[in-house]
């Protein structure tokens, strides 16, 4: 079995029945800028996949379209078997996300914020769930403090707790551990790994932390200038590019190295 697939065929490389997310020929054009240029990929259910690329590669644009807050110029998106464009409200209760581009009301306390979103997502026994998450994310002492008074790291933990309130089956994470110190970052990653192992949640994360990607992700989708340029497991990509780690692979892709050589050629196959 091929461990690495051509990006163009990636949407079909995972059987549709195994995929939690299927993206086909997705495009987004802002005025005269093509932010996403017709990408296709599939994310296997119960796995963690990284969406990697430099600034402006199209990661956040892609995540926004997956969440239904950005309308694609063309293409289709299916999440848990539902068309996100026409059947959004059927699947949104089963998803959640965290992103540095949004915030929570700053004058509300952490507990109040979590309670509001627990009600929006129809969480059963919200107090119990909030207390559980507060314990797991070390937020119990912060529940009565205004969100605006928290440090950046504390806010990131609150955002993650908010993202897990409804026990999502699909979790989209944009820079989930940015601004966390190494200790807290490690604990968050461990928590997400445990959550996934227990719930079989599908996670798609955009991150610039390559250690995090190597540790957490089963698959990686590499984006550059709005195109999928490579896809495979971190280990496969490291071997494919002949590098030591994902950091070096990322630099190769971001700087366009390997285009003129056979490194990173889309059709190249890597032995499993």
């Amino acid at each position: 079995m091929d461990a690495f697939r051509s990006p163009r065929s990636s949407a079909t490389s995972v059987a549709e029945s195994d995929a939690a997310i299927v993206v086909n020929e997705l495009r987004k054009r802002y005025d005269d800028v093509d932010a996403v240029k017709g990408i296709s990929f599939a994310v296997r259910a119960g796995t963690t996949t990284a969406l990697l690329g430099g600034n402006g590669a199209g990661k956040t644009t892609t995540l926004s379209m997956l969440l239904g807050v950005l309308t694609p110029t063309a293409g289709t998106i299916s999440v848990l078997g539902c068309d996100i464009l026409s059947d959004r409200y059927r699947v949104l209760p089963r998803m959640n996300f965290t992103s540095p581009y949004v915030d929570l009301p700053r004058r509300l306390t952490v507990g109040e914020n979590l309670r509001v979103f627990a009600d929006l997502y129809g969480v059963r026994e919200p107090r119990k769930r909030i207390a559980q998450l507060a314990g797991e994310f070390d937020l119990s002492e912060l529940l009565t403090r205004p969100y605006g008074n928290l440090s950046a790291g504390q806010r990131t933990r609150v955002s993650l707790a908010k993202a897990l309130l409804n026990r999502p089956e699909v979790l989209l994470l944009d820079e989930p551990t940015a601004s966390l110190d190494p200790d807290i970052g490690d604990r968050m990653r461990t928590y997400l790994e445990h959550y996934q192992a227990e719930s079989h949640c599908t996670m798609l994360l955009a991150s610039h932390n390559m250690g995090e990607v190597e540790r957490m992700c089963d698959d990686v989708i590499m984006l550059r200038e709005g195109l999928v340029v490579d896809q495979g497991s971190p280990q496969d990509l490291i071997e494919l590019y002949g590098r030591e780690n994902m950091e070096e692979v990322f630099l190769d892709v971001a700087r366009g190295r390997g285009e003129d050589s056979d490194l990173g050629a889309p059709s190249r196959e890597v032995a499993a």
Binding site: Y30, T71, Y89, P93, V102, P105, R107, L108, F117, G122
Partner: protein
């Protein structure tokens, strides 16, 4: 992954009237948390209507001895200013709720949650009622305390006028929210200024007949003009102005439809241009 039974149970919890009501309640809860913990916010909501009411009440005291219609209807100006504030607060209640979400950079969180657009609007309108009751309620209390004028002396028509003006305020508030979403928080001033465009032609303190003849048709397409004309009829003649009531109610339906449509278009525009995740201070 969930089993089919678990999925169906979970899906049922997200659909239907009860689920919608729960999400609207969540939105109200979010703003109630904000309002109830800040007494300056609560006071400021009643402050402006009360000060304006006091000004018009003293003007009434000054003019009453020499003005016939004020002797017949001493609550003429006070009633007018209180009802005007129903319109103003009704509009502000919708616009400020929306602006608050933009300042908080919270729109992205709300629009990726199961909250539907209709529920978001229902939440805005409910909060507008609450804000209006707090703001105008405070002014009504002081009108009674300081000048022994009770707005409730208008009787049943008060309820009709209140509802008609509130609905017109909602439609302007939705349109203003749409413009702020379209042009960003730089357009925030519209939230405070937009309503004053209709003030001169609403006949708040004077009959529509006072307006130049070319301007009168403009007035009659506004629900507010019918309400204030009707208020004068109740105060001076003691009859309920059914023709003004039906005209205002019909116009309200049209304006509300337009307001909702404009807001929907703005949300659609925001989805196309990626503004829901970007908007903020």
């Amino acid at each position: 992954m969930r089993t089919a039974t678990e999925f169906n149970a979970a899906f049922r919890r997200q659909t239907g009237l009860a689920a919608s009501a729960r999400r609207v309640r969540a939105l109200i809860r979010r703003h109630a948390y904000l309002l109830l913990k800040s007494w300056p916010r609560l006071v400021s909501m009643a402050y402006y209507p009360t000060v304006t009411m006091v000004l018009w009440a003293f003007l009434t005291v000054y003019l009453k001895p020499t003005t016939n219609f004020l002797q017949d209807a001493p609550g003429f100006f006070i009633g007018a200013v209180l009802l005007w504030d129903v319109l103003f607060r009704g509009q502000l209640g919708v616009s400020l709720t929306f602006i608050e979400e933009m300042y908080s950079r919270n729109l992205g969180n709300l629009f990726v949650s199961p909250l539907r657009l209709g529920e978001f609007i229902a939440g805005q309108l409910t909060l507008s009622v609450l804000r209006t009751l707090i703001g105008v309620g405070g002014a009504c209390f002081f009108a009674w305390l300081l000048f022994r004028y009770s707005i409730f002396s208008l009787g049943f028509p008060l309820l009709a006028f209140f509802t008609l003006l509130l609905a017109f305020g909602w439609s302007i508030g939705l349109a203003v929210s749409a413009m702020i979403l379209r042009w960003g928080l730089g357009a925030e001033e519209l939230a405070w200024a937009a309503i004053f465009l209709v003030a001169p032609v609403s006949g708040v303190y004077y009959p529509i007949a006072v307006l130049p003849s070319w301007l009168q048709p403009v007035a009659w397409v506004l629900p507010s003009a019918h309400v204030f004309e009707g208020m004068r009829e109740v105060l001076l003649e003691g009859t309920f102005p059914w023709r003004h009531f039906w005209a205002a109610a019909s116009l309200d339906l049209i304006y509300l439809g337009i307001g909702v449509a404009i807001f929907q278009l703005a949300i659609k525009y925001a989805r196309v241009h990626g503004k829901l995740l970007q908007m903020g201070e």
